[in-house]
């Protein structure tokens, strides 16, 4: 029996002990010597110009070192391209502290640096700033007619496909037709850890930067370009990240500020943002969606139109894929997908967990429910009837698609067959019971990724790749892959990430990390394995003579022959026998372009939700959720399950609570704190069942991984809203589904 089969096992997190004992250090926890502290000052107005910053008044306070603002920041990189990070959208990136112009409320306008954090905070509270106020415009609702189609979007954005068939005509001729508008306000990521950067000044321009980010290399590139540093001078470390959800994909302004201050003051500096300032940055954009569906007499979809309009800032055109999914989730020959942006005075929106899809699936899946009712078909049956066997957007086959199994296994577990269709027909005492279903599709992406593996004479394997672990379990699954590939126990393997001196890995986002870093780790370990085999074959009396890499297996700490597993060499002995101290391999994994182009690569899910509603009081509880996910190979059911549990909680949060409310009078998010921006507490969360449907896929990538960080969120909000309809007969198309909408 193999003791070194780790992949697919529900192993505990290898970084768990460090996290619960404080051994895992986050960006704001590196207490480098002689540290100064910076506190960012946020604008109180939404639009205008800074007339004067009364820095002199606080510079007089002993211990206040400097007030950085556009009034004194030295001239830095000139061109926009220097400020563009890996995922910058089109437009002109915001340059902190480099102009008098205020483009949005809570924009950082100054940095106060002092000997202590307390002093910096105190002084920042006293800093007077005079503004010339201009009229702002923050209301997307007034921009319905001012939408425009974005030109070039950011990496990963795909413009909606051209219309297919004749959607307008088929909608007119449809047997049943529904149309509705769906709305949600802006939502802010709010990971547990606030953004922080600790910059250690090592003389001249040499810096070590501890940054909260989802990509150390992205931060490194940014500060290199903006401050004219070389790679050695801009060493970025980010080994632990307390959640990101997309907010850490782009370098945040505290990084700029901390580096600026360190270089100017020639001193180590830390800048950490406050919870309130977590609302001064990118967010899921306020989005207005319109969906129109038509069906044929047999309940097949005749035509579909999905339109989305969302906000962007005045200076960048943030794009996300909101409507495209609607052209591939169901079989439909007449489809029109349209997508527009409108500019208002806010910070540029930013990818937030399942960007675009979380938004789009909410509208489409509510509309599908409405149509199921209009056509008199069970909502699950309606989806099965319109099941897409091919990706009609791309006109490609799916590399694999086990969504049907998700529907069946999820429905069985949930007990969907006991559902009675009539709204309000199911009860638990005085409570109304509602059951809703929804579904989702998400990209199974992979990016180029490098890794390095080193085996030392003591038999310990260390694998490096400069990726990130935003709490998803990257450390653990990479250790599993490396250990299994070379037949070692978990304890004999260390995986390291989050350092720009390591081989380069992509940003941690898009649910591509498991596939990208995983396949890179596998490849580099195979490469090391080949070298090991060669070395082993030099040993005296060894039984592996003439065997190729395909003829052997790495299991239980041995290399052994496939044809006779009793013929083996102990891995730990190989280096010693050859007088080698260590063996190294380095490799860059490139995605297979043929497989990538030939197939449509996607993960799917089906989610079933039960709500109970007190009709008089308008209170709603999500009492049960079953989320069935088809996401290829599951590397670790425990960490994967946590990802989906987190997604479900997130979806419930999106459905019932989250909204960054803009006071248009001030052009400011007014609930910008954790007390009034609500997310669920444990008492709001009841039973959640996660099912991973078996899905083998050798085309998506060699390990058959699709990634599970985002797909589990899809459809959750829609399923909650659909369940609320089933319970009450009330369609709530404007999130969140709050008490006043249910009771009135």
């Amino acid at each position: 029996m193999s003791m070194t089969n780790h992949i697919g096992k529900p192993l505990n997190r290898v970084d768990g002990p460090a996290k619960v004992t404080g051994g895992a250090k986050y960006a704001a926890e590196f207490n480098v010597p002689n540290l100064a502290y910076g506190v960012a000052v946020s604008s109180s107005i939404a639009k205008g110009r800074i007339r004067k910053i009364h820095a002199d008044e606080i510079l007089a306070i002993p211990g206040v070192l400097q007030v950085f603002s556009h009034e004194n920041v030295p001239s830095l990189a000139w061109f926009d391209r220097s400020y563009k990070d890996d995922v910058a959208p089109g437009g002109s990136p915001f340059r902190p502290l480099q102009g008098a112009e205020v483009k949005y409320s809570m924009q950082p306008v100054a940095l106060v640096v002092a000997e202590t954090f307390e002093l910096a905070r105190y002084a920042s509270g006293l800093l007077r700033i005079d503004y010339d106020v201009e009229k702002h415009d923050t209301d997307l609702e007034t921009k319905r007619d001012d939408g425009f189609e974005p030109g070039r979007g950011k990496t990963g954005w795909v413009p909606p496909p051209k219309p297919r068939g004749n959607p307008d005509k088929e909608l007119r001729n449809a047997t049943h037709r529904v149309e509705a508008e769906y709305i949600h306000l802006a939502q802010h990521h709010n990971p547990m850890e606030m953004f922080a950067s600790t910059v250690e000044f090592l003389g001249d321009k040499k810096l070590t930067v501890y940054d909260k980010t989802q990509g150390a290399f992205n931060s490194q590139q940014y500060i290199m370009k903006v401050f004219g540093l070389n790679k050695d001078e801009a060493h970025v470390i980010s080994k632990f990240t307390g959640g990101g959800f997309g907010s850490g994909l782009r370098p945040q302004y505290q990084l700029f500020m901390a580096v600026l201050a360190a270089l100017e003051l020639k001193r180590s500096v830390r800048v950490s943002l406050t919870r309130q300032q977590m609302f001064s940055m990118g967010h899921r954009p306020h989005t207005l969606q319109y969906v129109e569906l038509g069906t044929n007499p047999d309940g097949s979809l005749a035509a579909l139109h999905h339109h989305a309009l969302h906000e962007t800032s005045q200076y960048e055109d943030y794009t996300e894929n909101v409507v495209n999914w609607s052209g591939m989730l169901y079989q439909c020959d007449n489809v029109k997908l349209t997508y527009q942006l409108a500019k208002i005075d806010v910070a540029t929106p930013q990818d937030m967990r399942a960007p675009g899809a979380a938004t789009g699936s909410f509208a489409l899946e509510c509309a599908m429910d409405e149509m199921a009712y209009a056509a008199g078909i069970d909502p699950l049956e309606f989806r099965l009837r319109n099941y897409a066997e091919r990706d009609q957007n791309a006109n490609k086959d799916f590399s694999s698609k086990k969504l049907r199994e998700c529907y069946h296994e999820g429905a069985a577990k949930f007990g969907w067959d006991k559902r009675t269709a009539e709204p309000g027909s199911m009860r638990d005492g005085d409570l109304l019971v509602g059951w809703g279903v929804a579904t989702g599709v998400w990209d199974a992406s992979i990016q180029k990724c490098a890794a390095k593996a080193t085996l030392t004479a003591d038999g310990h394997l260390t694998v490096l790749s400069g990726s990130n672990d935003i709490g998803t379990g990257t450390y653990t699954i990479m250790t599993q892959i490396a250990a299994e590939t070379l037949g070692l126990p978990m304890a004999a393997v260390t995986f390291q990430l989050g350092d720009t001196t390591m081989p380069e890995a992509p940003l941690q986002g898009g649910s591509w990390t498991a596939a990208s870093v995983g396949n890179a780790v596998k490849q580099v370990c195979d490469k090391l394995g080949e070298q090991l085999l060669k070395l082993a074959q030099k040993m005296e009396g060894q039984p592996l003579k003439g065997a190729s890499y395909e003829d052997v297996q790495f299991v239980n700490g041995q290399i052994r022959l496939n044809s006779d597993i009793t013929q083996a060499v102990v891995i730990r002995d190989i280096l010693a026998a050859n007088g080698e101290e260590k063996l190294e391999a380095e490799n860059t994994m490139m995605p297979n372009p043929v497989n990538q182009l030939k197939n449509s690569l996607h993960a799917h899910n089906a989610v079933f939700v039960e709500v109970k509603i007190d009709p008089e009081l308008g209170t709603l509880r999500v009492t049960r959720v079953v989320n069935a996910v088809a996401a290829g190979r599951i590397l670790n059911p425990k960490t994967a399950r946590s990802q989906v549990l987190g997604s479900v909680v997130w979806g419930i949060s999106m459905a019932l609570m989250e909204e960054s409310v803009m006071d248009h009078g001030f052009g400011r998010y007014i609930n910008h704190n954790y007390s009034e921006y609500h997310i669920p507490v444990s008492a709001d969360i009841h039973d959640i069942d996660v099912i991973f449907v078996e899905e083998e896929d050798d085309k998506v990538n060699p390990l058959g991984i699709k990634g599970i960080g985002e797909v589990g969120l899809l459809g959750v909000a829609a399923a909650v809203a659909n369940a609320a309809y089933h319970a009450t007969g009330k369609r709530i198309r404007n999130l969140p589904v709050s008490i006043e909408k249910l009771m009135l």
């Binding site: 109180s44 107005i45 409320s105 307390e118 905070r121 105190y122 509270g125 409570l431 109970k612 007190d614 008089e616 009081l617 308008g618 209170t619 509880r621 009492t623 019932l656 609570m657 409310v661 006071d663 009078g665 001030f666 400011r668 007014i670 609930n671 910008h672 704190n673 007390s675 009034e676 609500h678 997310i679 669920p680 507490v681 444990s682 008492a683 709001d684 009841h686 709050s738 008490i739 006043e740 009771m743 009135l744």
Partner: protein
């Protein structure tokens, strides 16, 4: 955040003396409200006088046979005190409906009385607010006012008082023991918090130098028919949109005595004695409850986002009275207070 000095008071008189001598002084107890406000630059004390070493943590019999709750007893110790659970379960439920276990372990009874509104604008120094800066204007009127008051508002302020504990105290006819430089006095609970009028910067009627030393609960029995119903956006760690403290004494199905107080709807715990009068002597039926509920909101005014509270308050009152009459507050119910 301001810089401040810190001293510890070990006698009530000393605390009073320090406070009377200097406007910059603030008392600190659990600190769970004050420190947040200091960090947000809303409160800017120059000196903190720490009350935590005053000998005011006891929960003991009051002279009239009621119960005296020390001002420095924690909310947790109070809620779980055997006498509170037995004789004043309404208070137990109200306290447990508030905040979180960690906060209740820190929060004191005295501090809870003085906690300030959660109005967004009050907390955000970039916006005008009459309560924070008298005369600067009220941003909530005409702004986003979903969590704001519908009763007893004024043109200067529509903030709500956020406490849960205080709603039960109002219903239970509590009194406050207060010491100031002019000596000791007793303050009726309903006279403690005030409506905003044209001085919203004042939350209560105490003189600045006065310290609350204890809260007295009268020797009355509302331990069988009571309910604290709190409606909010999430199940814990959220303030009430509307809450209702209801307590009845029944003779068969006839209401002998009734108490009704609401939270989340006004600048103070909203006790309505006229509505109570409509209940007294009547059968404990839904119809009676509806009549009382209608009376409570008769003069309510909505400001847009919070207008739903008028109807919600009505329904919540009926439900709470029903629960009180039926004695079902303790029934396992995922819809009411689930965060002890």
């Amino acid at each position: 955040m301001n810089s401040f000095t810190y001293t510890r008071a070990t006698a009530v008189e000393a605390a009073v003396r320090e406070k009377a001598a200097d406007d910059g002084v603030k008392f600190i107890a659990g600190g769970t409200n004050l420190l947040d406000l200091i960090k947000e630059n809303v409160e800017r004390p120059t000196r903190l006088v720490d009350l935590n070493h005053l000998p005011l943590t006891a929960i003991e019999a009051a002279p009239d046979g009621g119960l005296r709750l020390g001002a420095l007893a924690t909310n947790a110790d109070t809620a779980w005190h055997e006498q509170v659970q037995k004789r004043y379960p309404l208070l137990n439920q109200a306290i447990l409906a508030g905040a979180s276990p960690q906060l209740r372990n820190m929060a004191t009874n005295g501090g809870n009385l003085f906690q300030r509104t959660r109005c967004y604008y009050f907390y955000d120094t970039a916006t005008p607010c009459n309560k924070r800066e008298p005369g600067s204007g009220c941003s909530a009127i005409g702004g986003y006012n979903r969590i704001h008051a519908i009763l007893g508002t004024s043109d200067s302020c529509i903030a709500t008082h956020p406490s849960d504990m205080c709603i039960a105290l109002a219903a239970l006819n509590a009194t406050l023991q207060v010491t100031g430089k002019n000596g000791e006095r007793t303050v009726k609970f309903e006279d403690f918090h005030r409506l905003p009028g044209n001085q919203p910067e004042l939350d209560n009627t105490l003189a600045p130098d006065e310290v609350v030393t204890a809260i007295d609960l009268p020797n009355e029995d509302f331990s069988r028919h009571f309910s604290y119903l709190k409606l909010r956006d999430r199940q814990s760690y959220a303030f009430a949109l509307v809450s209702v403290a209801a307590a009845l004494q029944l003779d068969g199905n006839t209401i002998k005595d009734a108490r009704l107080a609401l939270g989340g709807v006004a600048h103070k715990p909203w006790r309505d004695q006229q509505a109570e009068d409509l209940l007294k002597g009547q059968p404990a039926t839904e119809e009676t409850f509806r009549r009382a509920a209608a009376a409570v909101v008769e003069n309510a005014q909505g400001y847009g986002h919070n207008t739903f509270k008028i109807e919600l308050a009505k329904r919540a009152i009926v439900r709470a009275l029903k629960q009180a009459a039926e004695g079902t507050q303790h029934a396992a119910d995922i819809f009411t207070n689930s965060n002890p």
